[in-house]
Amino acid sequence: MDWQALALTLKLATVTTAILLAVAIPLAAWLVLGRSRWLAALEAFAALPLVLPPTVLGFFLLVLLGPRTAFGRGITSLLGHPLAFSFSGLVIGSVIYSLPFAVQPLVAGFASIDSSLIDAARLLGASPARIVTTLLVPLARRSLIAAAVLSFLHTMGEFGVVLMLGGDIPGATRTLSIVLYNQVENFDYAAANRTAAILLGLSAIALAAIYLGGRTRGGRRA
C-alpha cells in the first residue's frame, strides 16, 4: 500500500475542497442573486469542466503554467519554481476541474430558498455578504455538505488532469489514481485491487453520509 500517495491524495482533496468552497459560495450566490445578463455566460463557463475532457483541461493548464506563456514565466519567477509538476499546480488544476461539482449543488440550494426571505433581508438593510452568511448558507446547509463531499470525492478520483499537469512524482504529484494506473500497467492486480477498494470505500462512505444526513434531518428535501 502506497501510504504516501494516500496521504497526498487526501491532502490534495482537503486543500482543493477548502478553496472550492471559499470560491463557490460567493460565486453561486452571485449567480442566484445577481441580475446581470452576463451571469448566464459565467454559469456556463463555470460548468465547462463538466464536459471538457480532463486531459484537454490538463493540457491547457500545462501550457498556461509552463514557460511557453508570459503568465507561466511570471508565476515561475514569482515563486522560484514552475507550477506545473508541483503540488500547488495540482491544486489549481483540481480547483478548476472540480468547480462545477461545488457550484452546481450550491446554485440549486440557494435558488430553492424562498425569494421573499431574500427580499425581507434586503429591505432590512442586509448587505449581499450578510444575506449569504445569515440566510443562504444556513438554509442551504445540505447543499453545502453535498458540494463539499462531491468536490472532495471528485478530486480524489481525478486522473487525467493530474497526469497531464503533475506527472508522477512521488510525494509531490503521485496520487492514488496514478498509483492504481501504475499497478495495472505492471500487472500487479492484487495491489491494484486494494488501491481501487480504498477509493471505492471512501466514495461510498462519503455518499452514504450525505444521504443519511439528509434523511435524519427529516425527509428528502434539500
Binding site: 441580475r35 421573499s116 426571505l117 427580499d119 425581507a120 429591505l123 432590512l124 438593510g125 448587505s127 450578510r130
Partner: protein, 239 residues
C-alpha cells in the same frame, strides 16, 4: 408626503399610476390582480420580474428622491428607510422570533437591540413568543412577528400588503388601532394594500382605489369607498 409615478407592463397587465399620498396613512384598495402588490414592490425598490421592467418609475418621500428611472437612479431597498410586510410573513425559519425581529437592528448595540425587540413584541402583543421558532407559530402569530420585524428599525415608510389576512376581525382591529397610534407617534408614513373593504373602512384614511392597474379614485375613505360601504350595509341589513 409620498409622491409616485409608475408605468410598467407585464403581458396584458399595465400598471399606470401617478399620484401623491399626502396622508400619513393611505389604503390602496382594489380587487385581486389590480396591481396593489406590484405597486408596493416598486415603492420598496424591489426588482420586478424580468418581463415587467418599468418604463417609468419615480418615487420621492418628503422630497427625498428614492427612485427615478429617467436618471437611472434607484436607492437600494435597504437604503430607503422603507420596510414592508408582504402577504407571506417571510420569517427566517432558522432563527428565533427575537432574532427575526432584531435582524434589521444591526446598527444598535446589544442592550438597545434587545430593548427594541421587547418594545416591538409588546406592541404587536406577541412578547410571549420571543423564543419560539417560526415553524411553531400560527399564521396570525407569524404576521404579528413580521410586523414587529418591519417596525423595529423605525422606518420612514411602512408598506403593508394584506398584513392581517390571517387574523380574526377583533384581533385585526385591535392591532390596527395600536399600529396607527405607533406610526402616528413616530411619524411613519404607511401604505396598506387590501382587497377587504372592512379593513379599508376601519381607519379614517386616505384611500387610493386601484382598478386594473389604474388609479380610479383618491380621497377620504368615506367618499372613495361610499359604494363599498353601502354594499356592506345592505348585506348586513339583509341578514
Amino acid at each position: 408626503m409620498l409622491e409616485l409615478a409608475f408605468d410598467a407592463r407585464r403581458g396584458s397587465f399595465h400598471l399606470q399610476v401617478e399620484c401623491r399620498f399626502a396622508s400619513e396613512w393611505t389604503v390602496v384598495f382594489g380587487p385581486s390582480g389590480a396591481g396593489k402588490s406590484t405597486l408596493l414592490r416598486m415603492l420598496a425598490g424591489l426588482e420586478l420580474s424580468e418581463s415587467s421592467q418599468p418604463q417609468l418609475a419615480r418615487v420621492s418621500l418628503d422630497s427625498r428622491l428614492l427612485t427615478d428611472s429617467a436618471q437611472g437612479f434607484r436607492l437600494k431597498p435597504g437604503h430607503r428607510q422603507t420596510t414592508m410586510v408582504a402577504q407571506q410573513s417571510a420569517l427566517f425559519p432558522h432563527m428565533s422570533v427575537a432574532a427575526n425581529v432584531a435582524y434589521g437592528l444591526g446598527s444598535l448595540d446589544g442592550a438597545s437591540r434587545s430593548a427594541r425587540v421587547q418594545e416591538m413584541l409588546q406592541l404587536v402583543n406577541a412578547h410571549n413568543l420571543i423564543d419560539r421558532r417560526p415553524r411553531d407559530l400560527s399564521g396570525g402569530e407569524a404576521q404579528r412577528i413580521a410586523l414587529a420585524r418591519a417596525l423595529a428599525p423605525k422606518p420612514r415608510l411602512l408598506l403593508l400588503d394584506e398584513p392581517f389576512s390571517a387574523l380574526d376581525g377583533a384581533a385585526s382591529d385591535a392591532l390596527l388601532a395600536r399600529l396607527q397610534d405607533w406610526t402616528s407617534k413616530h411619524r411613519v408614513q404607511t401604505v396598506i394594500a387590501t382587497h377587504d373593504a372592512t379593513d379599508a373602512l376601519a381607519t379614517a384614511a386616505e384611500v387610493a382605489l386601484l382598478r386594473a392597474g389604474r388609479l380610479a379614485a383618491l380621497g377620504p375613505a368615506a367618499e372613495v369607498l361610499a359604494a363599498e360601504r353601502q354594499r356592506l350595509q345592505n348585506r348586513l341589513a339583509g341578514q
